[in-house]
Symmetry: C2
Subunit: 337 residues, 2 copies
């Protein structure tokens, strides 16, 4: 595991001075942190980058037209869920029972409003269901059959597992089962495809922050396992007073570190800028829980940062209304991409 | 809602200087924050206080004999679960479907190890199942049927709902249903009995911290609703570098505030002592999310603090090997107890 986090020096804005004339909306999305390695597994990078760019174009248009950060992150994450390249919604991995169980959450930085669903099956867009939990229920987190009953009341149509499961995921699961990889962490069968959680963070032109995260979880995970994605403060967090965060990686390590809230607290209580907070958060994550994963973050001024302890992280952004950038960024020292 | 938190000036130790000769183990337990009001509902206070004292005596003996903080909090919370007075294990409230669904978590401050279960039925001691998740699984949080499958593998015998449900809870649920209280927050049917989550925090003589929380949740909650108790950083948190926390109250508000981690961050990043951190945490909780609930907290030096925004909080403690104290503490200004 690489302990040194990569901090993204992204966007055109000067790191410490913000141009007051710039459009103040910013958007970041990610398709997971992992061990993607083109040389080793012949993975085609271009489709991932094209997907990120297409989704950022859509998210930018929402923010440019005065849409809310909450709408932007919901739309971007729903598009990532719809794309079978990513491990969320369609394209989700299979658990030990050979089923899809997905987690998702969304958070509104204005009032810390939050909605989340965990271990749900047959939902095409878990992030949209999470938004309904935020908007239409008195609860924050609904799991399993209870979440599906709520979806039904809300008129959200369920889909068959077959509509969510791709041929690639089916083969991946068969391979993992044949190899006897029922336990997960100790001996990952195909590291580069074991997580590909998606997420988005945004700041709209009103200065409001929002974050959303969605995932199919870990390949071969135990039935009923809930990861960090639907946990407020772990895989998702947004507070207008500090920053918006979406995390990805090994959920158990992210939950134990309460990673998103940790980084927000570094901003709020230590007055770190978002770059330093992402860096220090990743150092803490690596040192304290040997954490493998990454984050995207936008602060109240709209500055964008990312950090990860894995080999690579797939992400893209536009800072303060600027140009769209997409990358499968690798740790310094990894030259295989 | 009372916004001013009560800070417990508990124990015999001087607030700012610790006697190095004192035994350095400390223990706090709680039986929920709420609207208990002896005058209004004729509630008998004595059984609650006797139960807390009996459980603290047992916990103290564990710590005095060199037992770990983790063992002490597990034992105390299991005893609170066994006591039908409290809303956890036996005595849990019923959800909208008339069923018991319980949440519990335990956390080890040495390495941020954590185990939790959510929306489980038929488990006499959810905290013991959470301890097994911590010790014997590669996951942090298991929910519903998946958690029960894990319990079965671990040889934990399930019990019938009837063994957990008391006559009082059955009547309470019927009353809530008749009154049409399907939604929870806006119009609580019997505020003083809608939460009674239990929890424990400890520091052992080795200086290790641990925390555990367990609950039956809110009366008439939606099926599949998960509250703050099993969420690391919300209803439970322990880190040897800062403090151990167990929270109670309206779980949705605690989750949105990421309350336990917030207080730990005040200790870690703002260098507040545990009294100031509990006070500032409660002020934040009240102001930012109009939070109703409370916390118990022990810092790395073994100092004990509590804070709550509700009318009352049932809790007890022993600080640095000192005398056992139990109280149904009320906010300043409430003189009905």
């Amino acid at each position: 595991m690489t302990a040194v986090p990569a901090i993204t020096p992204c966007g055109a804005a000067n790191r410490y001075t913000i141009n007051p004339m710039a459009e103040r909306y910013s958007l970041m999305i990610h398709g997971g942190a992992g061990e993607l390695d083109r040389v080793r597994n012949g993975l085609k990078v271009r489709p991932y980058l094209n997907a990120l760019r297409r989704i950022l174009v859509r998210g930018k248009s929402i923010l440019k037209e005065g849409g809310t950060a909450l709408d932007a992150v919901e739309t971007c994450v729903a598009m990532l869920e719809d794309d079978p390249l990513f491990n969320a919604g369609r394209g989700s991995v299979l658990n030990a029972a050979g089923k899809v169980e997905m987690d998702a959450a969304i958070m509104d930085g204005r009032n810390l409003g939050a909605g989340a669903v965990a271990a749900v099956s047959g939902i095409a867009n878990p992030v949209k269901l999470a938004r309904r939990v935020l908007a239409c229920s008195e609860h924050v987190l609904l799991a399993g059959a209870g979440a599906l009953a709520f979806a039904s009341e809300q008129g959200i149509v369920t889909v068959a597992d077959d509509d969510l499961v791709t041929e690639f995921r089916r083969k991946q699961h068969e391979k993992a089962c044949k190899a006897g990889h029922v336990t997960l962490v100790q001996d990952p069968p195909v590291p580069e495809h074991r997580h590909g959680t998606v997420g988005a963070v945004a700041r709209d032109s009103e200065g409001n922050l929002a974050a959303a995260t969605s995932t199919g979880g870990l390949v071969n995970k135990r039935r009923g396992r809930i990861g960090d994605s639907p946990i407020i403060g772990a895989g998702v967090y947004a507070d207008n007073h500090s920053c918006a965060i979406s995390a990805t990686g090994y959920g158990e390590e992210i939950m134990r570190a309460v990673l998103a809230k940790h980084i927000a607290s570094l901003v709020e209580f230590r007055n770190l800028d978002i770059y330093a907070a992402a860096r220090d958060g990743m150092t803490y994550f690596a040192n304290r829980v040997q954490g493998r994963g990454g984050v995207i973050a936008i602060d109240r001024q709209g500055r964008c940062a990312s950090g990860f302890t894995t080999k690579t992280m797939i992400h893209g952004w536009l800072e303060l209304g600027g140009r769209i950038a997409v990358t499968i960024r690798r740790q310094a020292g990894n030259t295989s991409l």
